[in-house]
Amino acid sequence: MKKRALVLVIAAVPTVAQAEPDDPGPFAVQTDEYGFGDAAFFPESLAGVVELRGVIHSPVDLDEGPFPIVVVLHGRHGTCYDPDGPFDDPFANVSQEWPCGSNHEPIPSYHGYDYWAAQLASHGYVVVSIGANGINAADGEADDGGAQARAELIEAHLELWQSFVDTDEFGTKFNDAADLQNVGLVGHSRGGDGVAAFVARNAMRTEPFGLGGALLLAPTDFTRIVVPDVPLAIMLPYCDGDVMDLQGVHFFDDSRYAVPGDATPKYVFTMDRSNHNFYNTVWSPGTFALGGAFDDFEIPEIVFEQLDSHCSVAAGGPRLGEAEQQASFVVYASAFFRTHLGHETEYVDLLRGDADPPAAAAAAEVRTSYMPPDDPASRLTVNRVAAAASLQTNDLGGMVQGVDLSTYDLCGVGPRGGIENYQHCILAPNFFMGELYEGREPHVPGLAHLGLAFAGESTWVNALPEGTDASALSYLQFRAGVDFEDPAAAAGAVDFTIALTDRAGVRATTTLQSWTDALARPPGDLYPVAPKLLLHGVRIPLAAFVDPTAGDPALDLGDLATIELAFDAGAGALLVSDLAFVDAVPPPPGGTDTSGSESGDADTNGDADTSGNADDSTTGALGGTSSSGTEGTTGPAADDDTGGCGGCRSSGRTPGALWSGAIVLLVRRRRRVVSCATA
């Protein structure tokens, strides 16, 4: 959870209720369905027939369009059920055939996302969830698990909508209703693999559809498809009992530097307390009792003959119920598409992990990783940690050192950064059913992690070459995770000092826990499924290092010399990657954003704040900044008239209220007196 280092203790008058991404929109919504039979489509890459069927949620008033269109593709599940039972187990009346045999009915997996489709449609979107039972019945015969067939199916539906330009099976109802140059894609599980394959397929088209965003929900990744050049979100349910190894994180890892100049952002949302199936109501036993629905985390419980203290409901684990889990999906899926298809700016902070989620998603304790577009205005990569050489020299050519670290090594890849001869990041990877199994290290193989351990004063230092100028950027960020195998990994969150030094010798510091508690020992104890070594994003506003009111020389962000992660207390072990300065400094109020970020991705951080969040420059100073001209020392804690530092860990967000600019300015003036992170 993002920590806000500020408590607004000043009375303020809420002005306008803040809209949350899961709020219903202004459009009345209608539902339609089309179908051309169970054998209407013959994918070239599959030995089977496939239905061409979809359920549409759209605004009633289609004349307001064309609207962005989002295509949703479910994953692999039972295809048919016998309504007469037997019902003595979830699969007793289920078959994996297509078309369904006599006395069997199709399992309507494509209706499993209606709850979200209706919500998004109310904001002015056409949402089409398509059936893929025919693929599910035959994808065991496909080398890629059916990814290409699913891509073909998505293409067939979009081409169908293309034909709606002139006429459609609903008469003229949907003529020009959907903007096929503003297409969003959602793929769940193997549907995620299919969406990834479609992105690649679409790029090969003579006239490609315009893709505005792809959200892969608990995806499989059988063929390591890279997904560049489209805003990409990966949603990972931590308690996934189907895609137990969370292999879908590879889409983020593999795509983030794949194409130089890739102008699109990428996200990972790790949804704690969530499983694989409950995002689809037809896969959830509480809402679909006719066959095939089950709590997937029971599979590892059975296989490994053990319950998990965190993910097993039967062990009292804090798992979310079906409705809670679906609510968290609505928040993040709608925020993603409303940002990247709808070009709304209100949820940028949420997507980047800078704002706490609204109540509907709070229980999922979402962790975020964010990769900005690859343009100089948005990203200055310092050390991506790509290969063994990254331990000595960073991407800017600066020297890198692990000073007094007890471990300083690379894992997750081979010596040259590829997957040949890759090194595991945990000591005891498991062999499961005769195959090597990376269930506890999802990023492996493929992501290079810097493994470092500390016991006593030690530092990871990245020197920055002369002329390193971060003054036009807003955040220092990296990805990190706690090595749960390290004996020092306690339940509490790790803490350490992050320091920037400029060429004049000014050293400014802040502490990790002033900004995030994401670096805690990951939960669970079901070997070899949990805990999982997942990296999460850590973002620190650069304003946290520059406090002109501190009385000390101000750090010069335009001439930086080093970045340090300084471990000055305790012991522990971390995995780290992707050290960078990111996100263009927003223009002054009334100015023009010249960040170069793609449309719809306008940076709202630090603007005259109308979001209900404290201004970043304000919270930055309040988040534990100290600035000192004395080498190696931490500045004195500021006077604190708030009653102690406990309040500095609280959220400054006030849902449902907007704070006036005047109040924000007042808080800015007061930031000095509530700074306390070094206390």
Binding site: H77, D89, F91, V94, S189, V243, L307, G316, M433
Partner: protein, 148 residues
Amino acid sequence: MSVVRLAGPLGLVLAGCDPREPDADAEPPTEREQSPVDPAPSPRIDPEPFAVQLVALHDRGDTVEIELALGRRLPPTNASRPTLHVGDEVVRKSRHPDGQLDRLVFLVPRDQFDRMADGAALELRGVVLARDGVPVAGVLDKSALRAP
């Protein structure tokens, strides 16, 4: 559609009971199991002894189909991909005949089948059903290959 069932206790059965229900044969509850949290009972799938056996070898010309019967229905999931290991040969393509979740037919190209050693064990891997060991469906007996 006719569904062929193996004799014996097949399929995943719904326990229909709270797994925390006292069991005379069970180990004493651990500290975690004695948690004061009392979640609503969840339908549970009983672990059962896993069994797999060779049913038939079908000659389909360019392809040989190796049909296995499973001791429980395979949940239709996403990440699991059954593979059949016969000596050094690995077969990755399969389907459920007539959609039956307790049957698997592996599709073996003829040249790969010819490379398989007669008498080699038929190992089913890659399915999320059992922790210990690899289920073996007997040995390959090429003399049992049946014409269509």
